[in-house]
């Protein structure tokens, strides 16, 4: 159920690493907790990310949540499709609901993240 090829943060972001680039989003669990997502605020290309610092905001009808960078690096692209259809984060959070692509500045940081089993355990605790 939780993609096994991804790594996760305690704040419910996922990251898919490919070489020195990566794609980042939020998990199904996070999307479910938030409810119907209505807006995602993402940084511009070129913006510097710092591991575990906030990089944006995701809003639902009744809640708002900060987005925390899983690793440090530079934003390459934000998912412009989320402007018109933020709801795709609810329906396809690991695919079309991706939030940003980035270049990693320190690939070693990925080791500090949770793997699928650890994230599953975290969410099972409630």
């Amino acid at each position: 159920m939780i993609p096994s090829d991804l790594r996760y943060t305690k704040e419910h972001e996922w990251i898919r690493v490919a070489g020195d680039e990566a794609t980042v989003g939020i998990t199904q669990h996070a999307a479910d907790q938030l409810g119907d997502i209505v807006f995602v605020e993402l940084p511009e290309p070129g913006h510097r990310l710092e591991q575990f610092a906030t990089f944006g905001v995701v809003e639902s009808v009744k809640a708002v949540s900060d987005l925390f960078a899983p690793v440090s690096g530079e934003v390459l692209e934000g998912n412009a499709g989320l402007n018109a259809m933020p709801e795709v984060v609810n329906s396809d959070p690991y695919g079309a609901g991706w939030m940003l692509r980035m270049r990693l500045s320190d690939p070693g940081e990925v080791e500090q993240l949770l793997d699928a089993a650890a994230y599953e355990a975290l969410t099972a605790e409630g």
Binding site: D36, V38, F39, E59, V61, P86, E87
Partner: protein, 501 residues
């Protein structure tokens, strides 16, 4: 709300028709009245405002009002809002021409009646709260919070203490408290509540320090509990060199029983639209006076209302009190609302106000007892509550899948406005219920019966509850689309499918 209730109404724009007389309100001006204005400043495209005859206009608003629910309609147990009866004599009072027609910049000598009323109201609120002085300037509770915290900031600055950058707020606090702290340039430090719902003194002690400007406490708390450790807490706060701010939203529980100033609070705000019966108006206007102890008086907003030795009244002149934080709004206060609050206080006197709190607290405890005896809803925090109490639908959700949201919507079918739900955030599936002192015992019993009936429905026929309300004019709105594709103003193409004309 009956199934055969009034129909939904089209907008004013859809009622509009060219030439439909809006009435001959004033004589026509000369045709050349605007010729002297430069063309570049003139409006070219007229505003497409609706043209509606007065009869249709009145029907439009009368029918819309019948789609609404007010205290005048029925029971409105919204926790933390104090939906008490709004006395009609107060409506008469505010509309007296002597009050209504007075211009805020009129010379003091022409405003003696209003100035005297304001001066008396300041003193009344000070007497009620144990504070030394009051400003009536803030336009709302949140505005009062901002004013109070700006006074705190000015106080510390005047002492030369620029290190105090934090405000401590319990996690059960109303969202305005941290938002206020941010607006005033402070960082909010959230303090978890203790398991008994009260302040965790140890957590506060650990967070208090030389960077603390103030704590913001609601007392009784948003859980409807009087803070039994209040004296020790304030002593700790003062020992750390910080100030204690009280959010007075729940004052209806303690009139004549507790005065914040006596306990050491330095500053507080009042919500006159809660405790002092001024109408909520569908969201406003209210007013949020602020009371302070003597050391903070120099920093109050300007202008203050002053009484001269000869018994006349005047407003402070600009620059007369340099330590003031300045003005927080255009004029001296929402006087139309303050007249109503003055009248309410004067109709009650001290004994009457104490009786208000006695009855409010008794009614809340009675209603809480009815629910606690049944067990269908959890009623945490044993022991007496203040003027409101928490019930939780967490157990109901586990057993039946029916959430507090569904219970609230089903209450509409039973003929009640739902209580506050999902606040405070610290309680799961929370309902915050505040009956106030102006509801009959029969109403309290009938409401308890309705809630318990819904709990039975949740077990036996949950679909009935989760698909509620069935009797409201509209049901389960699409709030997601409303936020994703906002339609915030009328445009002719924005007719939704199914709309009735």
């Amino acid at each position: 709300m009956s199934v055969t209730g009034p129909k939904l109404q089209p907008t004013l724009f859809e009622l509009s028709g060219s030439g439909r007389a809006a009435g001959r309100r004033i004589p026509a001006p000369p045709a050349d009245a605007l010729d002297r204005l430069p063309a570049a400043a003139r409006r070219v495209i007229p505003a497409a405002l609706p043209e509606v005859d007065e009869a249709s206009l009145v029907r439009h608003y009368v029918n819309l009002s019948q789609l609404n629910w007010g205290v005048d309609t029925g029971f409105y147990p919204l926790g933390s809002c104090t939906m008490k009866y709004n006395p009609k004599v107060n409506e008469w009072a505010a509309r007296l021409n002597g009050f209504a027609a007075l211009h805020p910049l009129a010379p003091d000598e022409t405003a003696q009646g209003t100035l005297e009323l304001l001066w008396e109201l300041e003193r009344d609120l000070a007497a009620i709260s144990g504070m030394d002085a009051v400003t009536l300037q803030p336009a709302a509770g949140a505005h009062g919070e901002l004013t109070g915290i700006l006074v705190v900031r000015a106080y510390h600055r005047a002492r030369g203490d620029l290190e105090r950058t934090e405000v401590l707020v319990p996690d059960s606090a109303h969202g305005t408290n941290p938002a206020t702290a941010s607006m005033a340039g402070f960082r909010t430090v959230n303090i978890p509540s203790a398991p008994d719902g009260g302040i965790d003194l140890d957590a506060f002690r650990a967070a208090l320090g030389p960077r603390t400007a103030a704590i913001m406490i609601t007392n009784p708390s948003t859980l409807g509990l009087f803070e039994r450790r209040i004296v020790e807490l304030i002593e700790l706060v003062h020992a750390a060199g910080a100030l204690a701010y009280m959010d007075g939203a729940n004052l209806n529980a303690i009139l004549g029983r507790f005065r914040p100033g006596d306990a050491g609070f330095d500053v507080m705000h009042f919500n006159v639209h809660k405790t002092f019966s001024t109408p909520h108006g569908g969201g406003g206007p209210g007013a949020g006076p602020v009371g302070v102890r003597a050391p903070l008086i120099p920093f109050l907003p300007a202008p203050r209302v002053l009484r001269e030795p000869d018994g006349t009244f005047r407003l402070e002149r600009e620059g007369e009190r340099p330590a003031s934080i300045g003005r927080v709004r255009g004029h001296v206060g929402s006087v139309g609302i303050l007249v109503r609050a003055w009248a309410y206080i004067r109709a009650h006197g001290a004994d009457g106000l104490r009786e208000v709190s006695d009855d409010a607290v008794l009614a809340a405890n009675y209603l809480r007892g009815r629910l606690a005896a049944d067990g269908a809803y959890e009623v945490p925090y044993p022991g007496p509550c203040a003027h409101e109490f928490i019930a939780s639908g967490a157990g109901l959700k586990r057993a039946t899948g029916v959430r507090t949201l569904d219970v609230a919507k089903r209450l509409i079918d039973k003929g009640y406005h739902p209580p506050t739900i999902y606040f405070p955030h610290t309680v799961d599936e929370a309902m915050l219920i505040e009956p106030t002192e102006t509801e009959r015992l029969e109403t309290l019993d009938a409401f308890a019966d309705a809630l318990l009936e819904i709990a039975r429905e949740a077990r036996d026929t949950p679909e009935l509850v989760t698909s509620a309300p069935h009797s409201a004019p509209v049901r389960r709105l699409d709030e997601a689309t409303a936020a994703r594709q906002p339609n915030l103003r009328w445009r002719p193409a924005s007719i939704a499918p199914g709309a009735d004309a």
